[in-house]
Amino acid sequence: MTGVQPQLAELDTDALEVGTTATSADGGRARVPWRYLGRRAAFYLFTLWAAITINFFLRRMMKGDAVSQYLSRNRNVSPEAADALRTLLGLDSDKSLLEQYLDYWVLLAQGDLGISLLHGLRPVTEVVSGALPWTIGLVGVATIFSFAIGTVGGAVVGWRRGSRADALIPITTFLSTIPYFWLGLLAIAVFSVNLGWFPIGKAYGVGMRPGWNAEFIGQVLHHGALPIATIVVASLGGWMLGMRNMMLTVLDEDYITVAQAKGMPNQRVLWGYAARNAVLPQIQSFALSIGFIVGGSIVMEMVFSYPGIGKLLLDATNAKDYALMQGVFLVITISVLVANILADIVYAFLDPRTRQAGV
């Protein structure tokens, strides 16, 4: 159907513009695509609702509860105390499902996610927000490093296709195929146990008091270095391969030839023309990968006993601490959604063509 499709939309363009100067200059740029934004917003709200609802029912569908689990570990709790505990945790099941569901929303609106049995009956919000910064900090930094190194490297490798730089691709791809837990354990074995360069695990030394002082920050960096390095090594290949492939596509575009015919220096063609276009899909996947920072760190946190969200989820699952699990799931869901929104916005900024895509 080539040649047929565009004609409706192009009505009144070429023929009329002949010999005239433009009448509306920046028209396309100032317009805000409200309808498009509205539709996206509605989509995200629906997704959020669905995720939260599923989260609610998930807990109801699970066998056993935290209190029974708690009782099996602590034998000297009386049945009355156990009932009181159930009431406290909102596990008394004389309410209908709908009532529970509505209560759940009300509590959620108040920022109340319940209390965690595993963590000495502290509110879930508090427990989660204590773990969140560690995960976001560590995995976030690692993701940014990996993205930056992989994208720049991929651009250069793509630009010099057929040269020796091509060898980087199979190497990084190989590294990313190694199971992460194995890579992590290997890193600990070599650099922590044998060489003793890095501590074996945890976010900072035992007995250290968190605070904004040089010693503590130094500790955090020292402890974080190995996990960050392993994450970068494991994920670099994807970024590099993606960017290189995109570069190869873009380098075949006419505007690259034009830029070269214009006498642009190679560096300028590489970064200003080729990489500038090739990076667009990369940025989108980067924004999306931010969403998986929170949820995707379980293995790393297990291997390095890092006190983040992943470890929290793992412990909560083992202890059947459903309130905590729900809280963690909620945080993961929201972060994935936020990342998606971010990806949309970033893309609209970088690619002028999507800005007027009101359709």
């Binding site: 363009t13 023929a15 002949v18 100067t21 740029r29 006419d254 070269q260 667009l280 002028p352």
Partner: protein, 274 residues
């Protein structure tokens, strides 16, 4: 004939694949200063490869296997294009010979404003210009091709095909080159827009006096707008002649085939057997 501007001698390009493809075979061609030369042929005849080869824009696996390209600069200096170093070549491009490409849709970087793409040319080739001078020069250029200075901040997708091709012509004109190579510059455009752009090129040529190599498969168009026409087939130039001579007295059989492939708009009927 008047003084020469570009002398191509025994120029050959081979695509180094298996088996090798000899895309351009020993082409010798001379272009006079101020002349419009048409290069006609069907797809795959090597006309685009020849044009890219002259500017040394070919990418692997294409290899220039033989020949020389001499550019006779207005200053009186003769430049052997094949002997230029990479940096000299870069500076030579666009300054002396600029190009207008076929894909008006894809010739512009989709994520950059057209003004900045025009300014690029000055930034690289005229580093002594201030940003202000650059902007005003770009505005002048856009006015010159009747796109309008206010379009400098538009993105390529906001312009129609005809407008984009005008922008490309403005870009090609930026450094006042002595030669413009145009590769199917109007093929993707409607006939009215095509005519308008041809008219504009012609006007600009009268004003600035550059030579043109006009590459297309559209022989009737070439017959109307060029001084001389070179007919290319399978990498070789089979015939060169003044447009009128090609029309009235074609020497080569292939030229005659090409001529008879185009139904005449107002001439005798009978080309399509009905």
């Amino acid at each position: 004939m008047s003084e020469p501007l570009l002398s191509i001698h025994d120029f050959s390009v081979t695509y180094d694949v298996d088996p090798p493809v000899h895309a351009v075979k020993g082409v010798t061609l001379e272009l006079a200063r101020g002349e419009i030369l048409g290069l006609a042929g069907e797809s795959g005849c090597g006309k685009t490869t020849l044009a890219y080869g002259v500017q040394r824009l070919l990418k692997a696996p294409a290899v220039i296997t033989n020949g020389s390209v001499m550019f006779h600069d207005a200053s009186g200096e003769d430049v052997d294009i094949n002997a230029l170093g990479a940096e000299e070549m870069r500076r030579f491009r666009w300054d002396k010979i600029s190009m207008v490409f076929q894909g008006a849709m894809n010739s512009l970087n989709p994520v950059a404003q057209i003004g900045s793409q025009l300014e690029d040319v000055f930034e690289v080739h005229r580093p002594e210009m201030t940003p202000r001078q650059r902007r005003s020069e770009v505005a002048d250029l856009l006015e010159l091709v009747r796109v309008g200075a206010q379009r400098a901040r538009s993105f390529p997708h906001e312009l129609s095909g005809g407008m984009r091709q005008r922008v490309m012509i403005a870009m090609a004109l930026a450094l006042r080159p002595q030669l413009m190579v145009m590769d199917e510059p109007t093929t993707a455009l409607d006939v009215l827009v095509q005519r308008e752009i041809i008219r504009q090129i012609s006007q600009l040529r009268h004003e600035f006096g550059f030579s043109v190599i006009f590459i297309t498969h559209d022989l009737p168009l070439l017959l109307e707008i060029t001084d001389r026409i070179a007919i290319m087939r399978e990498g070789e130039i089979v015939e060169v002649g003044r447009a009128e001579q090609i029309w009235t007295d074609p020497q080569d059989a292939y030229t005659r085939t090409l001529l008879s492939s185009f139904p005449r708009l107002t001439g005798e009927r009978g080309v399509v057997v009905r």
